[in-house]
Amino acid sequence: MADFWKRFSRNHQAVLGLLILCCVIFLAAIANIIYPGDPFLYSKFPLSPPGENGFLLGSDSIGRDVASGIAHGAKTSLLIGLIATLAAVFIGVIFGAFAGYYGGIVDDILMRVTEVFQTIPSFIFAILLVAIMKPSIESVVIAITVVSWPAVARLVRGEFLALKNREFVQACHTLGMGDVRIMLAEILPNCLSPIIVIGSLMVATAILIESGLAFLGLGDPNVMSWGFIISDGRSMLRVAWWICTFPGIAILITVLAINLVGEGLNDALNPRLRERK
């Protein structure tokens, strides 16, 4: 573990990303302490610019505190991103692993199913799903998962296809190892790096999709999120720039930080790169 950290910290951008990500997580964790109470609560000072009337980042059209919204929204964004990605990676790995490992008819069936999901533009598909299920935080997570897993499945299938004929896998067959163990213990660790990289990118995409959905009014109406604030402020961009700008920056920084961390993980996890000291 210390070794892993040493390799990770050699990449300064990744450390910076991790630092930012920790700040965002910290912000989400202390949101209830620094801004106790409901972020939807409105005050009698609508549209006050940053720094005035006690609003650090200003207030929106009905006097809600943008800073409080960002703090509470951070929790929503991170949770949705994380849960949706974990679910998508889980489904994608199972589909991809079986398709790639067994090939033939199994591969044909699983990949045709995957393609059906891939042919529909993902954001429109997500809108459709949320619209059908009625907007709630669960339905947003499900929608993001459903549109994200095919990419993982294809990636994992490719890796399994390439690895299953490698001699070390054949050696495992000659030792009498079972299929499930070969898949999990032998092949899967060899495709962890691309999975982690695509996973980290997916967390970022999930946050963007969630914001997009909220922006279109398809987020959970009872949960504060960054997309919701932007959606609320977009009509007032010219009179009150701060409403859209700050949550926008929050999304930008978080997505960037996650990408940097993903990249750093990839470098640190790949044993072949370790030699390049």
């Binding site: 045709r112 070390f168 050696a171 000659t174 030792l175 009498g176 032998e186 660790p189 962890l192 072949r272």
Partner: protein, 542 residues
């Protein structure tokens, strides 16, 4: 110095900082006369290929560059030559053929088009004339039906034909120097013999100097006039082919030559009559399948193994030899049940294991184990060496402690340090990895070891060590071995009996000595006649 085509003096080639060594090539001095063949011999990493690239001005600059010395080509220093001048020289004055003709040729251009390019860049000729010359060239390198080959794409030719086309291209403008970088390493032995003959013939016609880079002493013995032996970027010995091969002075050259397996089969060993493994009428074909909805062409149907019947006796080494595509690896995989054969039966002692399911097969797995060809692909890069070796016995139900203790013991048996246990495979060299692969196979105490080209990816000195190790453990553990190889020299030294395969069939079987001294089948004769360096072996034997 006018009579020399090429004089390299005190050449240094620097590697990027942080590399294994500072200089890839150090203080290299060689020369080449017209009509002479100079062989540069060395193991991987000796700097022989970089030397060739330096001549062509093709070093991967700026990281790798010549830092000192001169490369005089007909009196002109090529290290100082400008890039436009180098372009003039390349192809017309010095040309090069590469190891892998498939990657050296452009896959989306016809052969004719690629030869045409050479003329277009270097000579002023009308298109009709160029085409005529291209066809003439292809005829010179004895390609069948040159008119068709001019219009063919590289993938439509066989490996040998591609290499011929490469040679035609290299000789298009009658260069003064031809550099050949392992031009026959990727080819089968019979094709190799033809290509070597062709290079010799072309050299006689054009009187060019040939700089031939190889690791194969058999090839050296056949074609070289003079030999340069390189180790770690330094020339350790130069001299005429006779002197270097038959009376080497430097200890490294002596060691290298000593590790070349002799073509004279070793003395037969007493053998048991007990048959431990036998295959009867084993068949395997590939392809012929269709996609899910039946769209598209059905795949090409290839019969890789046809009606193969063979026996392996206790304690003996049965060599399966043949060229690429002869089905020998497929046969091995059928026998070890990595693939299911289409028909026929495989008997382990008296049990038919052909149709056993996975779990029924498991107890038999430990009796028959495999050593693979590629030491880099055969070990899981994510798993520590100790675990790689001990997981076999653990799957077979052994306790972790005893399996790990056994793994440590095995590391010692195969000649590795016990500290290897907690390391990852990428920390080891090719030869060491092959030792780990052998330890993994031995961990189950098998009776039969199937070795699929276990030394063909290794340098000759490492190869000798691994062969010695295999011999040692075979004696110690009373193993029966099925040894698959394309290298008849290795076969002569390792195998008690041989089975010669071609196009999926065994054309001849017999004791190694009988096959080498009195081959019956015409293909076996052809194969034996093609092994490079035979005269040298005969000379050494007397």
């Amino acid at each position: 110095m006018t009579d020399k085509l090429l004089t390299i003096s005190n050449l240094d080639i620097a590697l990027p900082e942080g590399s294994e060594r500072r200089l890839a090539v150090e203080n290299l001095s060689i020369d080449l006369s017209p009509g002479e063949t100079l062989c540069i011999v060395g193991e991987s990493g000796s700097g022989k290929s970089l030397t060739a690239r330096a001549l062509m001005g093709l070093l991967p600059a700026p990281h790798v560059r010549a830092t000192k010395g001169k490369v005089l080509f007909c009196g002109e220093d090529l290290t100082q030559a400008s890039e436009p001048r180098m372009r003039q020289i390349r192809g017309s004055e010095i040309s090069m053929i590469f190891q892998e003709p498939m990657t050296a040729l452009n896959p989306v251009m016809t052969i004719g088009g690629q030869i045409d390019e050479v003329f277009r860049f270097h000579a002023d000729m009308p298109p009709r004339e160029r085409r005529k010359r291209a066809i003439q060239l292809l005829e010179d390198v004895h390609l069948p039906d040159p008119k068709q080959i001019v219009a063919a794409y590289p993938h439509e030719l066989s490996g040998g034909q591609r290499q011929r086309a490469m040679i035609a291209m290299a000789l298009a403008l009658e260069p003064k120097i031809l550099i050949a970088d392992e031009p026959t390493t990727a080819l089968d032995v019979t094709t190799q013999a033809q290509i070597l003959k062709l290079i010799n013939e072309m050299q006689d016609v054009h009187k060019s100097g040939v700089l031939f880079i190889t690791h194969d002493f058999g090839v050296v013995a056949d074609i070289a006039d003079r030999v340069v032996v390189m180790q770690y970027g330094k020339v350790v010995e130069t001299g005429t082919v006779d002197k270097v091969l038959n009376a080497p002075e430097h200890s490294y050259t002596q060691a290298l030559i000593a590790s070349v397996p002799s073509l004279i089969p070793r003395a037969p060993r007493p053998r048991s009559e007990h048959i431990v493994l036998s295959g009867k009428d084993v068949q395997k074909s590939f392809g012929g399948g269709k996609s899910l909805f039946g769209f598209g062409k059905p795949n090409r149907h290839v019969r890789a193994v046809k009606d193969v019947t063979l026996d392996l006796r206790r304690g003996e080494t049965l060599g399966v030899v043949g060229e690429s595509g002869s089905g020998k690896s497929t046969l091995a995989r059928c026998i070890i049940r990595l693939m299911d054969s289409d028909s026929g039966s495989i008997l382990l002692d008296d049990v038919d294991i052909t149709s056993l399911g996975r779990s029924e097969m498991r107890p038999f797995r430990k009796r028959i184990q495999m050593v693979f060809q590629d030491p880099f692909a055969s070990l899981n890069p994510r798993i520590k060496v100790g675990q790689i070796i001990s997981q076999g016995p653990m799957i077979q139900g052994e306790a972790r402690e005893s399996a790990e203790a056994r793994a440590r013991e095995l590391l010692e048996i195969v000649g590795l340090d016990e500290r290897a246990f907690n390391r990852y495979p990428h920390e080891f060299s090719g030869g060491q990895r092959q030792r780990i692969g052998i330890a993994r196979a031995l961990a189950l105490d098998p009776e039969i070891l199937v070795a699929d080209e276990p030394v063909s990816a290794l340098d000759v000195s490492i190869q000798a060590q691994i062969l010695e190790l295999l011999d040692e453990i075979r004696e110690k553990m009373n193993l029966s071995m099925m040894f698959i190889t394309h290298d008849l020299r290795v076969a002569a030294q390792v195998c008690d009996r041989l089975a010669v395969m071609r196009y999926g069939e065994i054309v001849e079987t017999g004791a190694t000595g009988d096959i080498f001294n009195n081959p019956q089948h015409s293909y076996t004769q052809e194969l034996l006649a093609a092994v490079p360096g035979q005269n040298w072996d005969r000379k050494l034997a007397t």
